[in-house]
């Protein structure tokens, strides 16, 4: 049977979706976030509230623009 990359990818992603092996979770996630918290100097026990963020004034500066500009350079 000839090799079919489309089927190959579809069966590969299907196999991943059935497991949680490529998810960052449990002890690995704890370690990952602990390392980042140490790197950026904050405490993971602090909290963040979406509700509070909604009430802040809207910024005219968009970080998404910075991200998409950086990406766009790869398509030029």
């Amino acid at each position: 049977m000839p090799y079919d990359p489309a089927k190959d990818i579809q069966s590969y992603v299907k196999s991943l979706s059935k497991s949680r092996k490529c998810l960052l979770t449990g002890k690995r996630a704890q370690e990952y976030f602990r390392n980042l918290a140490d790197m950026f100097g904050f405490n993971l026990h602090e909290t963040y509230s979406i509700k509070k963020m909604r009430n802040l004034p809207k910024s005219k500066v968009s970080i998404s623009d910075v991200i998409s500009e950086t990406r766009a350079e790869k398509y030029e």
Binding site: A6, I9, A37, K58, I67, S68, R71
Partner: protein, 186 residues
């Protein structure tokens, strides 16, 4: 969230969308809606480690290279994003894909057929790997590449892998309304 989640819709947020959850800017309101619905167990947010890295890189660039946000603001956004992601990953509301070597290998097909950058191809495989219902982003290039891949003359066109999820670009008014309707009805 660990049981009974089989039919819960999953939304992959790329960095251009996820970062909006942690500051108030254009289209933040709908990203806040998505995050709040995930807190309520009505959907699952999927991101990847790469999403977080791109958010941090975007914030770093905005602060240190473009000087459009002060360092204190950059630090606050990074802290809030990581605290929130850690908290809600632990509660099963957010799934974080950790790309494995096979995913990087397979993503080449999306570069080949969709002409994506290597980064965007990796996001695509990460989203596919969790069988998400939609990829949410605010990025015209990435969105257009997935929706209308540039055709190339190739007799093996049938080998092009099909994208199984919807691409919803926040900057496209039709996509925005569609997303709003999905979220409202959850």
């Amino acid at each position: 969230m660990s049981s009974g989640t089989k039919n819960v819709k999953k939304f992959y947020l790329d960095s251009s969308a996820y970062v909006k959850g942690f500051r108030n800017e254009r289209y933040s309101e709908i990203v806040h809606d998505i995050l709040e619905k995930s807190e309520q167990g009505k959907l699952i947010v999927v991101i990847s480690e790469w999403t977080l890295n791109e958010c941090i890189a975007g914030l770093d660039k905005a602060c240190h290279l473009k000087h459009i946000i002060p360092k204190e603001e950059m630090d606050d956004i990074i802290r809030d994003m990581l605290i929130y992601t850690h908290d809600y990953e632990g509660k099963g509301c957010i799934e974080i894909v950790q790309p494995e070597p096979g995913m990087i290998h397979k993503s080449v097909a999306f570069i080949r057929w969709y002409h994506l950058s290597a980064d965007d191809a990796l996001h695509t495989v990460c989203a596919e790997s969790r069988e998400v219902n939609a990829l949410v982003l605010e990025d015209m290039h990435f969105s257009n590449m997935l929706k209308q891949p540039k055709k190339i003359e190739d007799p093996r066109e049938e080998q092009c892998p099909k994208i199984q999820f919807k691409v919803l670009n926040l900057a496209d008014s039709n996509d925005y309304m569609e997303l709003q309707s999905i979220i409202t009805n959850l």
